[in-house]
């Protein structure tokens, strides 16, 4: 272990945190993945809306595409034209953001025009001012992930054996999986349904009754991003940052050639700490919130 590689690991953790946060906000501005099922349902139960509907695919494949595109373009520019890494990564992320814009627009057009019988209109002003915001967040995500891959392949003392685009593909899948498991709950469980009682999940009876009106006028997706930036995005960032940082930290502090078993033991220790922390959260939530008053069964709380 030396100070330089420790600094690189710290940089990777920081980049991953930013990537996770921007990934989640990107999916919230565009309304992607699981919470989007309610946006989709809203029109069908008679609530047309003015919320973006970016059903590109599950988040993991979509983010894998942006990350792999950025890494692929950067790798080409670095290898074929000897461009400086930073410029190459910026160019790669820009191409990825353009791809993202095309996919987003085609999904918004497609999903809404497939709901003709529910009278869901296609609003062009939403496309014009929401798409650039989506693309900007995708740019940040793909830039950060391509940079992480670059560091892993070219800068760490023991380079990773996989080529840069494949590493970016895998991290893209991982960030998408984390984004759709963590941050989306803040969007789907809280922001879409602020008109119901706080402190419980969505009652099945209310499916599709999403909030369509804002403080002034009609709610749009940029309002949703404003809300989710406060907690959902940062929490996703923590999730992805922890994954990247802890995973690489243990093989940097402990030399993987001579101290491999220590590195693995360290990983198991982290996992046990997570189980205990989750148990603490579960206990404190049960103590503070208590059982639901509507409960009529005979099992004691």
């Amino acid at each position: 272990m030396d100070a330089f590689s420790m600094g690189l690991i710290a940089a990777m953790g920081a980049l991953a945190t930013v990537a996770g946060a921007s990934e989640d906000i990107e999916s919230d501005v565009g309304s992607q993945s699981n919470p989007n099922s309610q946006v989709q349902l809203a029109a069908q139960v008679g609530n047309p809306h003015r919320i973006y509907n970016k059903a590109i695919s599950g988040e993991p494949p979509a983010n894998a595409l942006w990350a792999a595109t950025a890494a692929m373009v950067a790798y080409t520019l670095i290898t074929a034209f000897q461009m400086p890494a930073l410029f190459a990564l910026v160019a790669g992320a820009s191409v990825a953001a353009l791809f993202n814009g095309v996919f987003s627009m085609s999904a918004y057009f497609g999903r809404n025009s497939s709901q003709r019988r529910f009278n869901q209109w296609v609003y062009l002003d939403i496309v014009r001012y929401t798409t650039p915001s989506i693309m900007a967040h995708a740019w940040i995500t793909s830039f950060c992930i391509a940079t992480i891959s670059y560091i892993m392949v070219y800068m760490l003392p023991i380079p990773h054996p996989f080529p840069m685009p494949i590493i970016a593909l895998i991290w893209g899948l991982a960030v998408g999986a984390i984004g759709s498991s963590v941050g989306d709950i803040h969007y789907g469980g809280e922001r879409e349904f602020q008109n119901r009682q706080f402190g419980c999940g969505l009652n099945t009876m209310l499916s599709g009754q999403i909030v369509r009106k804002a403080e002034a006028g009609l709610r749009n997706s940029i309002d949703n991003a404003w809300f989710c930036t406060k907690f959902g995005g940062p929490a996703t960032g923590m999730g992805f940052g922890l994954t990247v940082f802890l995973d690489n930290w243990r093989t940097t502090v402990f030399d993987p050639v001579t101290q491999a078993s220590l590195a693995i033991a360290m990983g198991i220790f982290f996992i046990i700490v997570m189980v205990v922390y989750n148990l603490y959260i579960e206990k404190s939530a049960r103590r503070k919130y208590g059982p639901y008053p509507e409960y009529k069964g005979d099992i004691a709380a």
Partner: protein
């Protein structure tokens, strides 16, 4: 290509890896779209996506370990721990959102008492939902599933790398075998599962058989591929 006893061992290793992925998917508590609205217990995403995210993170760790050592156990353990860390941090940060943003206590609607902690569940299930959050039993089950996925990914990668000596080829191949098995297993689950305490978990023999057939076919193709350069 010379067919010897090693080839059979490689095929068996790929087969076991594929089965680990297929069975591991059943352990991961995924609630699908309902869980993203805190309407069902588990992680709010799809089965394949989460299994792929964690298993392939494990593959990254295993591939890294394999570049510096050829000790099978270290590589397998590395894959499992890498996937476990990814799954653990995902579920932990997910718990933050359930507890502090949605403001709901964790509960499972499939059992009356959590088999690990002994906490009672039904009083904490919100009306109109089938549970929410990630109780300890689901967390542990998810960790087991994630680690099995990472172990399986490493188990597929190891023989492939020995056969063709090409990290990129082996990695893409492992991703391919991983995805096929994960998708078959997720078809068996049909959307959502809470972990090994869920009644649906009893369906795993179907996935076992299906993944065994698919993995054997994939393994037979995989051992015939040479590394070229």
């Amino acid at each position: 290509m010379n067919f010897d006893i090693n080839t059979i061992v490689y095929i068996l290793e790929i087969l076991v890896g594929g089965l680990l992925v297929g069975i591991g998917v059943h352990f991961v508590p995924v609630g699908g779209a309902p869980a993203a609205m805190a309407q069902a217990t588990g992680i709010g995403t799809g089965t394949v996506q989460l299994a792929a995210g964690s298993g392939l993170t494990g593959l990254l760790a295993a591939g890294f370990m394999m570049s510096v050592t050829d000790n099978l156990w270290l590589i397998l353990a590395s894959g499992a721990v890498g996937a476990g860390i990814m799954m653990g941090s995902t579920m932990l940060t997910g718990s933050w959102i359930y507890a502090y943003a949605v403001g709901a206590p964790f509960a499972s609607a499939k059992v009356n008492y959590d088999p690990i902690t002994g906490f009672s569940q039904p009083p904490y299930v919100a009306p109109g939902t089938v549970g929410q959050g990630i109780p300890t039993i689901c967390f542990v089950s998810g960790l087991i599933g994630g680690m099995m996925g990472g172990l399986g990914g490493a188990m597929i990668y190891y023989p492939l790398y020995l056969i063709n000596g090409n990290a990129a080829l082996s990695a893409m191949f492992a991703i391919g075998i991983f995805l096929v098995n994960a998708v078959i297993a997720s078809w068996n689950i049909q959307g959502t599962i809470e972990g090994f305490h869920d009644p649906k978990f009893k369906k795993w023999p179907f996935a076992f058989r299906a993944c065994a057939i698919a993995s054997i076919l994939l393994a037979l193709a995989a051992v015939l591929i040479t590394g070229g350069a």
